[in-house]
Structure formats: C-alpha cells, structure tokens
C-alpha cells in the first residue's frame, strides 16, 4: 500500500483500487488551527427578501447555521411623515399618519386625533367614541390575521397565509363599507369621525361576528395542534419580561412573556374600562406564546365589537363646536365622496355664516392652543404613542410617533443571536413589525 503526498488529493492503494481522499489538506498549514473555529460568514438578508416582513435588512454573522450576531438596518421606507405633518393643518395630519403603520391605520388616526383633542381640551360625542372602538377592533383583527398569514408564509405554512388573507379580506370589506377605503382611511378626524356608520354596516358586522369564531377555530385546527408549527415556534425568539421592559417591547410580545400590560386595561381611553374583555397572556416568552396571544386577542376583539354594536345610540359623530367640526355628514356623489347635498345647499343658499365657517375651516383650519401632550394607545403591536406639540397655530409644530414596531424591532438581536438562522425568521415574524411604522 503506497500513499502519495498530494496536498489536496492524497491517495492510497487498497484491494479495490486506488482511493483518493480529497481534503484540501493544507488548510492547517495556511490558516492555523484557529481558523476552523472561526468559520464566519456574514450574510445580508434583505432589504428585499420574502421573509423580512417588508424592506428590512438583516446583517447576520453566521457560524455554520448558528447566528452569532444579528444587526438590523432600517430606513428603507422612510418618507418623512413626521416632518410633512408640520406643513399641513391639523385635520390634514390624519391623512398622513394613517399611512405610517399601514396594517393598523385606524390606530394611528385615533391616537393622533386623541392627541389633538387633548390639546384642544374637547371630548368627542359618545357615538363617535363607540364607533372608534368598533373600527379599531375590526382593524386589530385584520392586523393580527396579516401577522399570522405572513408569519405562516415565512415559515412555509402557505395555508395559514391563504386562510389568513381570506379572513382579513372580510374585515377589510367591513372597513371599506364603513369608511369607503380598505386602508389609509382618514376616517377618524380631530373632533370625531369623517362620517357616520352607513345603515348597512351593522348588519354586515353582525354577519362577520357570526362567521369569525368558526374561522378562528379553523386556525386552531389547522395550526395549533400541528407538530411542525409547534416545533418551528416553541422556544424560538425567547425574551422574558425584564428583557422586554429593558428593550421597551410592548404588546403581544410582552403579554406572551406573562405581563398583562394592555393600555386598554391599565390606562383606559375611549371608554374601554366599561367593556367586558380579557387580556390574554402566555408564560412561554417565545414565538409560540405570541401566536397564542394574538389568536386569543382576535376572540377578545370580537367580544368588544359585539358590545360596541349593542351600545350604539343615535347621536352626532362630530363635536358641536362649529369652529372645529368639519362637516361629518358626507354622501356619495357622482364625483366621489363629498359633502352632502343638504350641506352644500345650506352653505351656498341659506347661510352666509355657514359658508364662511366652511371656507375658513377648509382653507385655514382651526387653531390649537399651545402646549404638548403624549397620548399612548394599545395598537395591535404595542404602545403607539403620539407626542404632539402645538405652538398655537393652525399646524402642528411637531408630531413624533412612538411606533411599537420601531421599538420592538430592537429586540431582534436579543431574540435571535445564538439560535439557528431559520429561527431568525420565526423570531422576527413573532414581533410582527410593519416597516411603514418602523421607518415612518
């Protein structure tokens, strides 16, 4: 038996013939022994990648399949919305903020309008408050379903995606019927709402309430008991309560770590303290718990919608103060949604003062007394806070949005370093970030 000394393909003679052993055998000599331990690979994931939930870029340091370092690069969707609001009047601000976190537009509108109303020192009529709760909870269901659908798709559960989007479509149809638009509604306005609920909406919502519980049960049948789904999510993206609080993480991620911190309960707004609902929690601190919490929150939102429907009383949906209230009785004309024929007849034919008011409101807007407020609400992703500063003029001096996606995304490194690269996807999907909100 002879051996050759080729450094790359040593060979030896055996009874079956010559056997080559291709080793690249001089690696030891060229790199030293440490080099084997430093099998380091830097991988850029994104910004265009089907599993990054939008234009998110991850810079991952890998050793084999293990992530040793995860850095997050954001900003690809920055549109300067905060700056833009400073050059529009207070009412126009609604149309900007609704485009930030595009999966929960009504939460952006509600928080912004509540901040403006707090600066103005006004309270919106009860019917408007109830409808705000109603549309926000429908929106929460739609948002959680997208979180589930895209998260499922990223993990290869395509039926979760198709079912999730199918169910979300029902919620969007409702929002379209109520507000006229599927997304970016600009429905909630400072002082109340753009318009009242259409007559047909209550029936449609009741129908939705009848269908949805079955669909949620279907999700549990499809996913919850499924071993692959469980093993992809359990013990993945682990972050406990102290980690969450240190990193500012709120929403389902914090509740899945066991802390029942929901602003609808702990700092109620819009009358949430009078509704009967639970704050679902889990104690697993992982992606599995977050999935269960979101599913349970869909059920709680259904309860809230049913209660909101029951307490709808006829009444105005905009404050009485004509110096602030935009016309809130719109109607569909041949050229799209606009002021109702009665309103136009009133301002054009009957009342000079009403015309002046309308003109001043639309061109100039109302003035908001100087000061600053911070209004937090519970969006589907956590604490959505609006820090709004007024200098007493017809435009905001500064609008800062504490977007929960932006803050929660900071937990990526803590959740995924030391794990497998495939689990990075599950961890980020369990945060459910929306890049429109992250980058604003």
């Amino acid at each position: 038996m002879t051996t050759t000394s080729d450094p790359y393909a040593g060979s030896r003679e055996t009874t079956e013939g010559r056997v080559y052993t291709v080793t690249g055998g001089d690696w030891d000599l060229t790199l030293g022994t440490e080099a084997y331990g430093a099998e380091r690979l830097v991988v850029n994931m994104g910004p265009q990648h089907p599993s990054t939930h939008g234009v998110l870029r991850l810079v991952l340091d890998l050793e084999g399949e293990t992530v040793t370092k995860a850095r997050v690069v954001i900003g690809y969707l920055h549109t300067g919305i905060e700056k833009n609001t400073e050059y529009r009047n207070w009412t126009q601000g609604t149309t900007f903020v609704t485009r930030m976190d595009y999966l929960s537009p009504l939460f952006n509108e509600a928080a912004y309008c509540m901040a403006v109303e707090k600066l103005l020192g006004i309270e919106v009529p009860p019917r408007a408050q109830t409808i705000r709760v109603l549309v926000m909870e429908i929106n929460r269901i739609a948002s959680h379903l997208v979180g589930l659908a895209t998260g499922g798709m990223e993990l290869g559960a395509l039926t979760a995606m198709t079912n999730g989007f199918r169910e979300r479509e029902m919620a969007l149809d409702l929002l379209e019927e109520i507000t006229g638009l599927r997304m970016n509604h600009a429905y909630i306005r400072p002082g109340g709402l753009a318009q009242d609920l259409p007559d047909s909406a209550v029936g449609s919502i009741r129908q939705f309430l009848e269908i949805m519980p079955g669909r949620v049960a279907d999700f549990h049948r499809l996913l919850t008991g499924q071993p692959i789904w469980q093993r992809r999510l359990k013990d993945v993206g682990w972050l406990d309560v102290s980690g969450c609080v240190a990193l500012g993480v709120t929403g389902p991620v914090l509740r899945a770590a066991g802390l029942p911190w929901d602003l609808r309960k702990v700092e109620p707004y819009l009358g949430y303290q009078t509704y009967d609902f639970e704050v679902p929690t889990a104690d697993t601190s992982d992606a599995w718990g977050r999935y269960l919490v979101r599913m349970a929150e869909v059920n709680e939102s259904l309860k809230l919608i049913a209660q909101a429907l029951d307490r709808l009383e006829p009444g105005p949906v905009m404050v009485e103060d004509r110096k602030i209230a935009w016309p809130a009785q719109l109607s569909l004309g041949p050229d799209g949604m606009g002021n109702s024929a009665e309103h136009v007849a009133h301002i054009m034919g009957q009342s000079m003062e009403a015309l002046i008011h309308h003109f001043k409101l639309v061109t100039e807007g109302f003035r908001v007394p100087a000061g600053q407020v911070y209004v937090p609400i519970e969006s589907p992703r956590g604490e959505l806070g609006y820090h709004v500063v007024s200098d007493g003029s017809t435009r905001p001096w500064r609008v800062h949005v504490r977007d929960p996606s932006f803050v929660n995304l900071q937990a990526t490194a803590a959740m995924s370093e030391g794990g497998m690269i495939a689990d990075v996807i599950a961890a980020i999907a369990s945060i459910d970030p929306v890049m429109g909100g992250v980058d604003r």
């Binding site: 500012g248 000061g371 604490e383 200098d391 800062h400």
Partner: protein, 245 residues
C-alpha cells in the same frame, strides 16, 4: 420661517419686553407681500407659546407631588434643585425641565427608586423650537429639546423630562445605560436633529442614508421647491408659501 412665540426680527425691542411669549404679524406668516386683506397690520401677542417660560408652583396636584417628593428624596434636595430648573403641569401631564449634567443621575433614580419605578422609557425624541425657548438670543438659545417619556408600570404613571441644548453645543448624555430601549430613539434623534448623545454605543444615522448631510427635522433645514414644467415657475418650498399662521 417662524417659531412658536415668534419674535419679529425687526421688532426685537418689543420682543425684549415680553420674554415669555412673542408677537405675530399678519394673518399669513409673511411680511411685505402687499396683503390688502386688512390683516397685514394685525399684531397678536402669543398666549404663552409652546415653550411658555412659566413654571407651575407647588402643589402640582394629584400624584405629581408624590413623584416629585420621591425624586427629591432619591437624589437629594441639592441635586434636584441643580437638575430641575422648572416644572410644568399642563393638560394633566407633568414635565420636568432637566439640566443635562444631572440627567443620568435623575433617570437612574427614576428607574430604580422603589417609590418611583419608571421602568419603561416609552419614547425619546427631539423638538426644535428654533426662535423661542428662552430669553437668550441667537446662538445661545437652547432651541433643541430632547424629550423623554417615562412610564411607571408599577404605579401606572407617566412623566416627561425635557433637556434643552443649543445647536452649537448639542451634547446630551445617553440614557442607554439605564434604558437600553433608548438606543434607536437616540439614534433617530441624532439623525433628525443632530443632537449628539455622549456615551451612546453606536450613534449613527438610522432612518436617513449614512452619507446624508444635515438633520432634516430641524426647523431651519431647507425644504426643496418643485419646478414646474411651464412658464419657468416653481412651487415654492412649503415653509415659504403663503399660509395661515
């Protein structure tokens, strides 16, 4: 470009008499435009302005006094007096105006003291008050404010801290040692306002591209006009358009 509590530049003498507010001229924020509406000569005194210099006297009411007492006890009266220049209670929210030298001691006490327990730093952001923000003029105006919103999950309370610095010396100590969540908030505030957070682990731009010039959310950041295809016209930048103020 005008600021809250705007001082007309040619009315500096008038402005000096009213340090807590300012004056506005005309219905639109422009002068010399040949405005014949009759509002061109209108002079209004701003009621306070966004950064009214008045402070609230004690008692502040509600739990505000409790928190303030606990804070004094935690850091000591001398430090508190040196750190907190004034306190403002407005619309049910309390704001402590803090000197940057004492910020770190204050937030550490706010987080760790048993009677305070502000565990969550909800938000850190900037506000550029440009021409207002204090009796000092020109470069010495502390125009850049860094605003911290702290939440006590234990007591369900929220407070606001505000640190004001000048654009020439925009240094504020980083609170990331106490609140790791402030990491990205401070990067965003640096990106948008150019406030430098000393001690931040990696203060780089976060939303704008890495090679961007300037800090876009400063009020004197130039806004671009839009050229129009015909008549050699341009749509002026939004801050120079005729607009109600």
């Amino acid at each position: 470009m005008t600021g809250p509590g705007d001082l007309e530049r040619d009315d500096a003498a008038l402005g000096a008499q009213a340090p807590s507010g300012g004056f506005r001229k005309g219905a639109f924020g422009v002068s010399g435009s040949g405005d014949t509406s009759g509002f061109g000569g209108l002079v209004r005194v701003e009621p306070g302005g966004a950064v009214a210099l008045h402070s609230t006297e004690r008692p502040y009411g509600g739990w505000f006094d409790e928190v303030t007492d606990a804070l004094v006890e935690a850091v000591g009266q001398a430090t508190y007096d040196a750190a907190v220049s004034r306190v403002l209670v407005d619309r049910g929210e309390i704001t402590y105006f803090v000197a940057r030298e004492h910020l770190l001691a204050l937030v550490r006490a706010l987080r760790d003291d048993e009677a305070l327990r502000f565990e969550l730093c909800s938000s850190v952001s900037g506000v550029d008050y440009l021409d207002s923000g204090g009796p000092a003029t020109g470069a010495h105006r502390p125009r850049l404010h860094v605003v911290y919103h702290l939440t006590s999950m234990t007591y369900r309370r929220r407070i606001r801290l505000e640190v004001a610095v000048t654009a020439e010396d925009p240094h504020v100590p980083s609170v990331t040692g106490t609140y790791p969540t402030a990491d990205w908030h401070e990067r965003e505030t640096y990106d948008m306002f150019g406030v430098v957070f000393d001690g931040h682990p990696a203060l780089t731009r976060i939303l704008m591209p890495d090679d961007w010039d300037g800090h876009p959310q400063r009020k004197d950041y130039p806004l671009g006009g839009v050229p129009v295809e015909y008549h050699d016209a341009t749509i002026p930048p939004p801050d120079t358009r005729r607009a109600y103020r």
